[in-house]
Symmetry: none
Subunit: 144 residues, 4 copies
């Protein structure tokens, strides 16, 4: 086992693609959103708050992104009796609210996107739409 | 005096213009930056972390934006003997580091932009470049 | 410009090598230390608190590691008039205390080590000793 | 009653034994983990984050260790209706998540180990495996 290992990092170009795709999807749906993108270390890469979205969703959208990045899974699948315990044990950063989707490229978890200000289903749909656009760019050879 | 007053709010469109202009200026300068935009309530509107910029600048760039938005002035002009007192009294949010510039339209302070990860002078130059692009859009009637 | 970029991550094996080397150097010097290792995202990778070292150095050693990781430079070189401003603007995480050294492999900043509980010079010597052992392992082809 | 009392403290040697045993058990199980060791004062003694484990588990693993150290019992046995009240009242540090095990030697609670990033059952199994190795060392006269 070696002292370092190869990895893949999300770029700010990739972040901009995600934010723009999420804004476009939210406008098409008519639901203003807060959209956050974090890297695999749960550090903020990008953020946009749309006109009319909720101020307190700044934090919850960011935490959805963190949760997806740290677990490598969509948010919302934690058993109810564990969800609040995990939230408490992580100072609220691990959330079970819908709307967080991981970014996975070539088997590497490179971050997560979190969307908040609509219903959970709307938030998730926007996050998924953004990730689809991102993955399509990747497949078209613009990246990895 | 009436119970309400008209105001002007920064939009997410305006935020995107600021972020894109700052990224372009930072790329031209060859200095990766963290760029934060807040509204007049010091709440985050937008953010981008460029590849190679400093993780700990996520927070300091945001605080520069907050300081510019709350004072309506560029950061860096507080008397040295007051700067740390103000920082302490605001849990570190009021900062005297260079790189925060207010957004003022028609006499309304509508927010601030903060840039961090280079030297203070570089940070300020990028912030000013972004605000210039923003003001030019305003003057060309694309916004206000 | 692509949506992702290749990177290098510190492993827990590499972290263990750093911690063991630092403990050995500290024992040889007769100065008990707190030793922290973080990755490039400033997230904790490893830590050890030696018998007789200072409890409050748990936090300062960790912040030295963060500062080295985020700047890619040894701690202690910030101009005095900026050091406290940067500390305030980062909730204390950016520190100018001696004892933080970055981990750089093949041009990638992969993290930092921070040592605290002795004099600044002792802390720095221990950190440098640990990084030397780490780099020697790398050069011997056990890694990158 | 006298003004002082004899005590037993966990050493950094003991901490290293615990961390190494936990890493070995986690590798055998194929589940990467965050592992934290705290002393009886709930202050961090040691930590290791294994490759592929969750970033947000840094905090939850540490809190499991704290909870075990402060109660002298395995985590997970608080009545559900009290668990969240205790979490709230301790800023999230008292957790009912599985994976925290106390370190008790000669009747002295000397600390706790917390493991997090797998299922609760996996976390607990790793923590127990590490404590078993530790206790075996003690019984063989290598420590106490």
């Amino acid at each position: 086992m070696s002292l370092t290992r190869p990895a893949l990092k999300l770029t700010h170009k990739g972040t901009s693609v995600l934010l723009a795709a999420a804004v476009e999807a939210a406008e098409a749906m008519g639901v203003p959103q807060c959209i956050a993108v974090v890297d695999e270390g749960c550090n903020l890469m990008g953020f946009i708050r749309m006109d009319g979205s909720r101020v307190l969703s700044i934090e919850s959208a960011t935490r959805k992104a963190m949760t997806a990045a740290t677990t490598g899974q969509q948010t919302g699948n934690i058993a109810p009796d564990k969800a609040l315990l995990l939230a408490e044990a992580t100072s609220g950063r691990m959330t079970n609210l819908l709307g967080g989707v991981p970014l996975i490229v070539n088997g590497h978890i490179i971050g997560g996107i979190g969307v908040g200000s609509g219903t959970g289903e709307q938030d998730l749909a926007i996050a998924n739409a953004a990730v689809s656009v991102f993955q399509k760019h990747i497949e078209e050879g613009q990246t990895a």
